[in-house]
Symmetry: C2
Subunit: 215 residues, 2 copies
Amino acid sequence: MPRNTVSAELIVTAALRLLDQVGVEAFSVRALAKELGVAPMTLYTYFRGKDELLDAVRDHALGNAALTTAYGGWQHQVRTICRRLRGQILEHPCLTSLLQQRPLAGHESAESAESLLRALVEAGFNEENAARAYTTLLGFVVGVTTLEVRLLEENSDPERREKVREIMSGLPADRFPQLVAHTPALRHTIGGDVQFEFGLDLVIAGMEQRLILSP
Amino acid sequence: MPRNTVSAELIVTAALRLLDQVGVEAFSVRALAKELGVAPMTLYTYFRGKDELLDAVRDHALGNAALTTAYGGWQHQVRTICRRLRGQILEHPCLTSLLQQRPLAGHESAESAESLLRALVEAGFNEENAARAYTTLLGFVVGVTTLEVRLLEENSDPERREKVREIMSGLPADRFPQLVAHTPALRHTIGGDVQFEFGLDLVIAGMEQRLILSP
DNA sequence: ACCTGAACACCGTTCAAGT
DNA sequence: ACCTGAACACCGTTCAAGT
């Protein structure tokens, strides 16, 4: 039998590509093995199981982040780090699912966590509130970006798109006037940086406000 | 053969209970059928497939929301609606996964969406920014609450808990001083309302600020 | 150590058949 | 219409065996 035809590195890279292509739902160890031209059980030499493999993929996708330190005032630092995390998720849509199912610690690479916390401490937050602000930012970024990715997927699938359109146009305008009135805006608003920046502005402005009241 | 031993209502209720118990990962049509004491294929009389069933479960879990109108100033209304959504997710943890994978429209019950949008318009947001604020709130609530649920799960599983502790204590304090220093705060801070209210305060304060500058 | 095929206990779903 | 068992094409993973 040929030896060292694959490696942990190779498996993870191929898994990441396959996950982004077909989605977490359709991804399977067997499909990955076929992609690599190897027997399914070969992968178990490198990973204890599917879970461990997915953890490695998540770490790999996040670890590829530019480790550049964020410069400028704390607001600018926070913005930079959050945008970077969002960028990683958009680049690897499977991260939406991987991050939801397997957070781990602060649930991204240690470098991001470190620089985000540093910026928050520099802003003036005390220990506890820095941790709270950190969790808020993480939840916000992952939540909004996940929503964005899912809605874009929904929009690109003609069948699902039609189904949603049907539901929305079926809403009685007298019971849901705001919802009906805002449907175009809600549609037009998804995907793209403006939505994300809008939310990020809100959170950061809220932080500035909070720091005046109590750190 | 006995007739009408099950119904769509019964199936959805049992599915919701099973999903909360074992998680979306372990949930299967066959397991649900066994739970109901019925052949797997029986469920296909009521639902076209697993996807349609999960959609129904998601709607059912969200639809159970108290439809009470939110009173008070727009800030209080927004707070009430966001807390209610978080409450639903905490009550049915499987909603974290169901909402991530299958958003649908504004991705909760139409009543919530309607009252949230109404509050935002009342606050003074124009059409586009009301939609943006809505998406921000939705992403924030689902994101932060999902993070909360996952970290609590992680904490309650002794094996995973130990693994995380190992990773965190293995971090070099000279490279990640903030992360190491904040590990206790990050641990102590998860779960419970204070973390959620902290973030909600930030977003709402940010909105107040934003409304002064431009609606 | 690295890689394999066969096998086990599962999946979701189609199909033909029963009432 | 409602419910069924058998069957199909999949899963993840264990196990014994090969190099």
